[in-house]
């Protein structure tokens, strides 16, 4: 069948209308299928193997008590945390790359991850961390009290605040009569460097046990994630992801440049701040949930863009594949390697070759 405009078959239901993109739908559906499969495997495999049938049984309330405990209290929340965090990172990366029109832009680059890491580390190293006992190494004074308060609230909250704070600093420094993307990226790199420096300093001054704990957190780990981690991340995503998808409607116009987009009726500065904020909060929430899991936000949107042959990273598809990469990474980290590694190391190993490939293309003068 031919359409009035080749390559843009319409789908229209009542007042709703859009373009049917078969490739996008197929790739996304495939990603969801793989995600369900890998999530099920991640729940079934481990020191105690549980068959897929028993996993399903446990999920609906069957199976024996041990299986139900392992599935419902240990592996399901861990898998869900990985899934949600990966989805958030995938979408956050797709948004930042589309907004900055820069394939190397990711929340890692914009300071969020660094800020979250430094703040979380401050709590772990100086406040006693997840145990919740506010040791208060700084002792007395206003800052000591602040750290103590943060320690009480926990590492995730500190990471969230640190990430948002770093994002605010990046935005504040980069905004000057409009948000120029080059400046945003440069300031982001700078702020990230400061955060990394603080992190290193904290690792040096921290007690050796806490430093070890902090190092695990800093590579991004899904170890010991329970429902208390799933619920807040899920709630945040329930708001942020639909908001991102709705607002992303303007990205098509923005991809044509600021002036063209303005001419098409997009308030470019306000738009970039709004959507950028959604992406940064998504990234901060993800980092709060599982620590800074590297490369997901950077690599996944680029892979998805090539898979669906789009001109800009697809948001929803990136979320699905971000979740897929993270859950797969966790599965490999838990089962395939001799020692259980944090998931962030696995995603980094999977993602680094791709980053090098991208950099190589860029150095050869190919415009990305």
């Amino acid at each position: 069948m031919t359409y009035a405009v080749p390559g843009r078959p319409p789908i229209r239901v009542g007042r709703f209308s859009g373009v049917w993109r078969g490739r996008l739908a197929a790739v996304t559906a495939l990603g969801i299928g793989l995600l369900v499969l890998l999530a099920a495997l991640n729940i079934g495999l481990g020191d105690v193997r549980i068959s897929l049938g028993d996993v399903l049984g446990a999920l609906v309330g069957g199976g024996d008590r041990a299986q139900r405990f392992i599935v419902l209290q240990l592996r399901l929340p861990r898998t869900l945390t990985g899934l949600l965090v990966g989805a958030a990172l995938g979408m956050a990366g797709a948004i930042t790359q589309a907004l900055t029109r820069n394939p190397l832009a990711s929340p890692d680059l914009l300071g969020v991850t660094g800020g979250a890491g430094a703040a979380a580390l401050a709590v772990i190293a100086l406040g006693g961390g997840g145990s919740g006992t506010a040791v208060g190494l700084l002792g007395g004074g206003g800052s000591g009290t602040a750290v103590g308060l943060l320690a009480g609230a926990g590492v995730p909250l500190a990471a969230l605040i640190g990430g948002l704070l770093a994002a605010a600093v990046v935005y504040g420094l980069a905004y000057r009569r409009g948000m120029l993307t080059d400046r945003l990226v440069l300031v982001g790199v700078g702020v990230n460097a400061v955060a990394v420096a603080i992190t290193s300093w904290l690792l040096v001054v921290a007690h050796v046990d806490q430093a070890a704990q902090a190092t695990v957190w800093l590579t991004g780990s899904l170890n010991g994630r329970g429902w208390e981690h799933v619920v807040p991340v899920a709630l945040a995503l329930a708001v942020l992801m639909p908001a991102g998808l709705l607002v992303s409607f303007g990205l098509g116009a923005l991809a044509l440049g600021d002036d063209t987009a303005s001419g098409l009726g997009v308030r470019v500065n306000r738009y970039r701040v709004t959507l950028g904020l959604i992406a940064l909060v998504l990234a901060a929430v993800a980092t709060a949930g599982a620590g800074p899991i590297g490369f997901v936000a950077l690599v996944v949107p680029q892979i998805c863009q090539r898979l669906v042959r789009a001109a800009t990273p697809p948001l929803l598809t990136s979320a699905v594949y971000g979740a897929l990469l993270t859950v797969t990474g966790d599965l490999i980290a838990r089962t395939a390697l001799p020692a259980e590694l944090p998931v962030g190391i696995v995603t980094a190993v999977l993602g680094t070759p791709y980053l090098l490939y991208l950099l190589g293309r860029r150095n050869r003068g190919v415009t990305l």
Binding site: V5, P10, A255, G263, L264, T367
Partner: protein, 334 residues
């Protein structure tokens, strides 16, 4: 006599970047249904004016009125249904198809839940057909030639369906044939669709041919404003461009035709003899040079022979040959 209607007007407009004021106190009425070309030397504020009219650059003082309403107080999406703008040398992301790019012209008519209505589809199909790009609809923009690409952008502006269209140097980076092609398209937009067009142009002769009104600017102010016959005069070219020129009648269009007189031709009449001599050597069988000859006869004239040994012993001519070769190489690289 009734005033001709002008939906887009600038009143005492002041525009600038940072601390620099580029335009101060400019008044301009863009008459409905006309094609206006803004001309002037580099840095005179042509593009700044266009950006101001298009609300891409906010007014420092004064204002731009669209349908009697201050454009900065108009919802920008509503403005985008009336006023379209094509920036200079717009860039599409790699991998974007022609149909998708043209469809983005529909953005002001869409919402998140309505991204491809029947109206959208019809407008885009028409715009593609009208610019002759329907055949290329599924190709990606980066595989097109510069001239085709500009057609696609104009197609996008057409799909936007605005009565007023502002074009910032729509012919930049195009060879002469494609410049004429794009301007023919603009002319048809005006004639067949009744669109009001304001465009910044560098080529004075093309501006005179395709615009009913020329606005000549220098140092951020309008120096002359009127039909090409009145604006393009030798004295104005001296005032606006610091250019000595003769203006004759264009043998094809009957519009003014500017013949620039460079320093070379002012200082030394002997050059003429050289040029005429070279003209008789034009039947050069060397196919490599055919393109250069057509693109720039002046350059070829100064290069009467490829063999450097046979170059004119006159040192002045020899230097010019070297210059022409350098130019030739430079243009090849481009």
């Amino acid at each position: 006599m009734t005033e001709p209607a002008a939906r887009l007007r600038a009143h005492q407009l002041r525009l600038g970047y940072g601390d620099e004021v580029v335009i101060d106190g400019l008044d301009l009425d863009v008459l409905d249904g006309t094609v206006t070309a803004v001309i002037g030397p580099n840095g005179c504020g042509k593009s700044t004016l266009l950006r101001g009219l298009a609300r891409l650059l906010p007014a420092r003082s004064g204002h731009v009125l669209l349908d009697g309403r201050r454009i900065d107080r108009y919802p920008t999406r509503e403005v985008a249904k009336v006023l379209g703008v094509l920036p200079q040398a717009p860039v599409a992301p790699d991998g974007l198809t022609v149909a998708d790019l043209v469809s983005r012209g529909r953005h002001p008519h869409q919402a998140w839940y309505r991204q491809w209505s029947g109206d959208d589809e019809q407008a885009v199909a028409e715009a593609l057909a009208w610019t002759g790009m329907s055949e290329c609809a599924e190709r990606t923009v980066d595989t097109l030639s510069g001239g085709q690409r500009q057609r696609v952008w104009i197609s996008m502006a057409l799909a936007q369906g605005t009565d007023i269209l502002l074009l910032d140097e729509p012919t930049t980076f195009l060879d002469l044939a494609h410049q004429v092609d794009v301007l023919d398209l603009v002319e048809r937009l005006h004639r067949e669709k009744g669109r009001t067009v304001v465009m910044v142009l560098h080529d004075l002769n093309l501006a005179a041919r395709y615009a009913g009104r020329l606005v000549a600017m220098r140092d951020g102010a309008v120096v002359a404003d009127g039909p090409p016959e009145e604006v393009l005069t030798a004295s104005l070219l001296r005032t606006v461009f610091d250019l000595e020129a003769r203006v004759i009648e264009d043998p094809v269009a009957g519009t003014p035709l500017v013949i620039p007189i460079g320093r070379r031709h002012r200082d030394d009449r002997a050059d003429r003899a050289d040029t005429e001599q070279a003209d008789t050597d034009r039947a050069d069988p060397n196919p490599d040079r055919a393109d250069t000859d057509r693109a720039d006869p002046e350059q070829a004239d100064t290069d009467p022979d490829h063999d450097p040994d046979r170059a004119d012993p006159d040192s002045r001519t020899a230097t010019r040959i070297v210059d022409a070769r350098a130019d030739h190489r430079a243009s090849n690289r481009r």
